[in-house]
Symmetry: C2
DNA sequence: GTCTATAGAGTGATAGAC
DNA sequence: GTCTATCACTCTATAGAC
């Protein structure tokens, strides 16, 4: 019998991809154990609260990653540089449109009722971090807020369309268009 | 024993709302029968193929509705009028952002693998109908296609954000912005 | 009475929890 | 692995339209 030792951060990342691909209801325990190679014992060792705890920890993990890699730079560093890096981070995180937004997917069905706060906070912070950066780059407040909202809306929509059309190019075109528009706005 | 008689179109519409709210995997037979008041007997009478047939008929029903109310007008009628009506139809169909796009939600998880064609065709036809209308209104082709894609991307993104933020206003703002942009483009 | 659509208990399989 | 609850689905009795 071969025993593989997992660390909790690995377990979170592995289970996250199953939820991302199948959604909350679609991610059955048997699919989770089959796809991750984690045993049922390991899964309940890491997540005594079961599926609900797995999803909560995954969302917290995603949120922490975005705060570190994107939101705090937008809030604290040179705004033009942070915005430029945001497009690269977005493209690489979502694998140029091949990976969906787990939190966006959770928002669409009743999974939202289980986790309203983390879902709301994630998008709210993205928009407000970007809006703040645009404001520091010289854009007056109401337009900065509108542009930030347009960008996050566009990213989510492009992820949906890329999956629906089976054509990731729509994601790249959308990012390029939004990047151009924000650069023009703070030029 | 009280017997309620349903017609198939009513059954499709009732079941559609359950799928729309819960997603494909989340819409269990017990939720479907509980929420629609259809008995299991009725459900399997109308949809002998079970859940898969229900979802297929629901998507066909949605597609037919959009073709009649939106895509054919965009393809055949006065383009400026049809585009103006498209914004009203979109706002009313999605209940100003309170109702999600079932086909968009299906695209995000493995449900897409069950119904790749209807999902792809729905969005493809929306974009190409709108692109054609913009072209007939005088917009040169490559820009018409890009604007149409931007509009459909924005609608989908706004539906996700409206649900995620629990704030339907983002949907109204997005529709207003896109409407303005397309009108400016063909002015 | 006939026939079709509905009601809802019952089926084996599989879910999540432990 | 074991548990119970719930899953998708089947089946039979019968209500109600003719």
């Amino acid at each position: 019998m071969v025993r593989t030792v997992f660390e909790k951060p690995d377990a979170i990342a592995l289970v996250a991809e199953v939820f991302r691909e199948l959604g909350y209801e679609g991610a059955s325990m048997s699919e989770i154990t089959a796809r991750t190679k984690l045993s049922k014992g390991s899964v309940y060792h890491f997540f005594p609260g079961g599926k609900e705890e797995m999803a909560a920890e995954i969302m917290a993990h995603i949120d922490t990653w975005f705060v570190t890699e994107m939101f705090r730079p937008l809030e604290e560093e040179d705004p033009r540089e942070a915005i430029a890096r945001m497009w690269e981070t977005t493209d690489s995180y979502f694998r140029s449109g091949r990976r969906v937004c787990l939190i966006g997917a959770f928002a669409l069905d009743e999974t939202r009722e289980r986790f309203p706060r983390p879902i709301r906070d994630y998008f709210h912070r993205w928009i407000s971090a970007l809006s703040g950066a645009l404001a520091r780059a010289g854009k007056p407040q109401p337009e900065a807020q509108a542009l930030a909202e347009e960008a996050v809306v566009g990213i989510q929509g492009a992820l949906t369309l890329a999956r629906a059309l089976g054509d990731e190019a729509v994601f790249g075109r959308t990012l390029a268009r939004l990047k151009q528009r924000l650069e023009t706005a703070v030029a």
